[in-house]
Amino acid sequence: MRVQGLALTLCVLIAEGTLLYRGLRGGFAKFYPLFYTYLIYDFTTTAGVFAIYWLWPSLHASAYWLCFVLSIVVEFAVLVEISDHIFQPYLAIRSLGRALAIAISGLLAVIYVFPAIFPPNQMRKALLDFALRTSLTKAVLLAVLFLVIRHFKIKLGRNSAGLFLGFSIYLAVNIANFPMEKRFGDHYAHVLWVASPAAYLVCVVVWTLALWKVMPLVVASSTGRTREEQSEQAALGLVRFNNTLSRFLHK
């Protein structure tokens, strides 16, 4: 199982390397700066942890968990960046993705994620619990974002859809795997050695396919109006809609 896991990790490195090469060479990184920074971080830490496994095997577990916990926290910022990217062309809901991310992550962090860290527990179980709960929080955030996008009938575009799909596959596998690891311990650890890199490999392959070519969603055309004028125009329109509805509420 370990050999398969290591082979899959190597495949992840190759896929990540391809994605990074393509993104940096094509200049796509400027569209998703946080995502590519996350990829660079993940590529270097995966390679580093891979090296540690061969050189200092006793340090491998600690190094792996440290990098993993940091990466799952950084993933929140990446999700915010992708949602910003989706709502960016729409003046009235430009901050919607960010607002949802802050509200859902903040609420679930206080009532669901942080309680997993504080009680004196076994380190391994606490880390697994933390990883599981953050994955669940991200899944809830993604599901809400998908529903809002659907509600407003917003075109997702190949890039953002692929990024969301990749994350969703990875998170779903983590959500199914971590409780099993918690419950069965070392008996399941062998499966996790393969399942976790396999899920991440699928995720990176989806990302690579989605970001092979960056396609801007909306082609901006010149109307001679500045952002401020457009913003004022949008505010006036929204106030008009609110007033139309308020008339009936106050009847």
Binding site: Y90, L91, A92, I93, R94, S95, L96, A99, A139, L142, A143, F146, L147, I149, R150, H151, F152, K153, I154, K155, L156, A161, F164, L165, S168, I169, A172, V173, I175, A176, F178, P179, M180, R183, V218, A220, S221, S222, T223, G224, R225, T226, R227, E228, Q230, S231, A235, G237, L238, V239, R240, F241, N242, T244, L245, S246, F248, L249, H250, K251
Partner: protein, 175 residues
């Protein structure tokens, strides 16, 4: 053991939801045809506002029930007005969504709008969404002639008898 099943079920449901929403979104985009669009009404037009005044006005039903003594017809009218009110609110919601979905068109190099303006626009959008959901719920449950904002007139009965609100000395002084 049940926790494991719940987590596994959540993971499967989450993936299915994502796949369904993604594929539905794609088919919706590909089947969207501009000719099929019936066009959303302009809500600044008086005609639309007059129509809505008529839909939400209880006078016709009251006239049928009380002056002509046709309670069955009055109920039937109320029911059809309820359906009309729901359609009107949904059309307003659709027009709002169309408005929100209009992408920004810019001249090159125009400066960024400050984020406070962006949050203000978001608040107006969220406010409208909450109000329309509430209005639709009230119309569906109680009909178009129900008060949408609850009355607080009953609060005067909670006050003890003989207790009158006196203006404060400061208010008297200011007068």
């Amino acid at each position: 053991m049940s926790a494991l099943i719940i987590y596994a079920a959540f993971a499967i449901c989450f993936l299915v939801l994502v796949l369904v929403l993604l594929t539905r979104g794609r088919t919706h985009e590909s089947s969207a045809c501009p000719e099929q669009d019936t066009g959303t009404p302009d809500f600044s037009e008086d005609r639309w506002l007059n129509l809505s005044e008529r839909i939400f006005d209880p006078e016709d039903a009251r006239w049928l029930r009380e002056e002509l003594a046709f309670p069955v017809l009055a109920d039937s009218l109320s029911e059809s007005r309820k359906q009309l009110a729901i359609r009107w609110l949904k059309t307003l919601q659709g027009a709002f969504t169309e408005f929100v979905r209009a992408p920004e068109m810019l001249t090159d190099g125009s400066p960024e709008v400050d984020s406070s303006q962006s949050w203000r626009l978001l608040w107006l959008t969220v406010r409208f969404q909450m109000l329309i959901v509430y209005a639709l719920m009230v119309v569906r449950l109680f009909g178009p002639y129900h008060r949408l904002i609850p009355s607080f007139g009953w609060m005067q009965y909670l006050r003890p008898q003989g207790l009158q609100l006196q203006p404060s000395p400061l208010a008297r002084h200011m007068r």
